[in-house]
Amino acid sequence: MPVTRGFNRRRETTPGDRLPPGQYLERGFPVLSAGPTPETPLDEWTFRITGAVDAEREWTWEEFQALEKETPTVDIHCVTTWSKFDTTWEGVSVDTLLDGVEPLGGYVTAFSDGGYTTNLPLEDLTGGRAWVVYGFDGEALEPEHGGPARLLVPHLYFWKSAKWVRGLYFMESDDPGFWETLGYHDRGDPWLEQRYQGD
């Protein structure tokens, strides 16, 4: 690998095994999105499990709040190369949402207010690895960070953690979402540095 003359490490962080390749540790919380932040009144908000499932499900905001809560503390990794350690969220495990649901397809499109979608294989959403969160750091999740609720799939690049999420649409085959259609990787594993199509 070529050495860049005069370039030196400036950050005295020793993230060890927790920082995926090509990432750096960020103390702030930058955001990435494609357009304006949508506003959805909570009395109009629902979360739906739909598509290829045996029976569709839908929760109102109030019903959603009554579901079993979890408070995962996780590291997150944005494709724009920042990572943030030990972020604490509050929300509902996707396992809980799928309790009693029979999926008839192995692929999911998460859909959001504003028309944003992202695709994930079902296996990336289950097994205690994905949540629909409405709290961050002990507070209600702010709109610019995806509130009232966003998906949280911390083992994949953060664009998979769809902001303003409103439901999961099950399918029998994979269907690329918004960023995935625009050149970003279909799966987005930060440890394999799957940033773009072709990585």
Binding site: F7, V31, T37, L182
Partner: protein, 238 residues
């Protein structure tokens, strides 16, 4: 074995030229083996390697037009940054680092498009918008276009001279200190300013720091712009 270079392949780029833009920003013209052009608004990923093997990677918008051939990036030095100071203070002709790209298929504009375009920049968020304006000029596009730039002071305005002849109306607002004889805006972009200056009803591109982009996009939606016509790009980090 295929010898085709893909956008995702890291390549060793050489700094062919470097020019200061402002006291805190520089434009680098790059020689990138196998560079196959880009679309206005796209970015590259760069990777710098220190003597001890430490590597740092960032994304930078391309400032040049697709017609310019060699890609140019403009980098603004960020306070406490790790990578941006190297580009602004250390980099010299002949220096090498790794590049891959171009990437991005959303925050892009092509001269074949016919909608009016409103471009709104906060600080160095002007870089990808400049690529679009240069592309518009080079292609002889006649689509109505306008640029609104928010800068702290005159020293922060990238491409100031070129903007005078870029062929679109340019509106500047200074948020910290205006030049002595300035009679234009001297405040942050707000709803009234957008109402007075923005081309509404076409497509809008907004690029800048997160809060800038967030605020401007919210105001435009409040003014009745369909969210689907507003494309944003934000940056943060060092």
């Amino acid at each position: 074995m295929s010898s085709v270079i893909r956008a995702t392949d890291w390549r060793e780029a050489t700094v062919a030229a470097i020019a200061p833009e402002t006291p805190r920003a520089a434009t680098l013209t790059l020689d990138v083996p196998g560079w196959d052009g880009h679309r206005a608004g796209q970015h590259v990923d760069v990777r710098l390697t220190a003597e001890d093997g430490y590597r740092a990677q960032r994304s930078y918008s391309i400032a040049s037009a697709p017609e310019d051939g060699r890609p140019m990036i403009t980098v603004e030095e960020l306070f406490d940054g790790e990578v941006s100071p190297w580009f602004v203070q250390v980099a010299a002709e002949g220096d090498m680092f790794e590049v891959r790209g171009p990437f991005g298929g959303w925050f892009v504009w092509d001269a074949s498009e016919t909608q009016p375009i409103m471009l709104i920049a906060g600080g160095s968020g002007l870089v990808p918008l400049m690529s679009m304006l240069r592309h518009r000029r080079n292609a002889g596009s006649q689509v109505p276009a306008k640029l609104l730039v928010s800068a702290r002071e005159a020293d922060d305005v990238l491409y100031a001279r070129e903007l005078e002849t870029i062929g679109v109306d340019v509106v500047l607002t200074y948020t910290r200190r205006a030049p002595r004889d300035w009679t234009g805006y001297t405040r942050r972009v707000d709803r009234a300013m957008l109402q007075e200056t923005a081309i509404l009803g076409g497509r809008t591109y907004i690029c800048g720091p997160t809060t800038f982009v967030e605020t401007v996009a919210d105001h435009l939606v409040a003014l009745g712009e369909p969210p689907a016509n507003i494309r944003t790009e934000r940056f943060g980090g060092g």
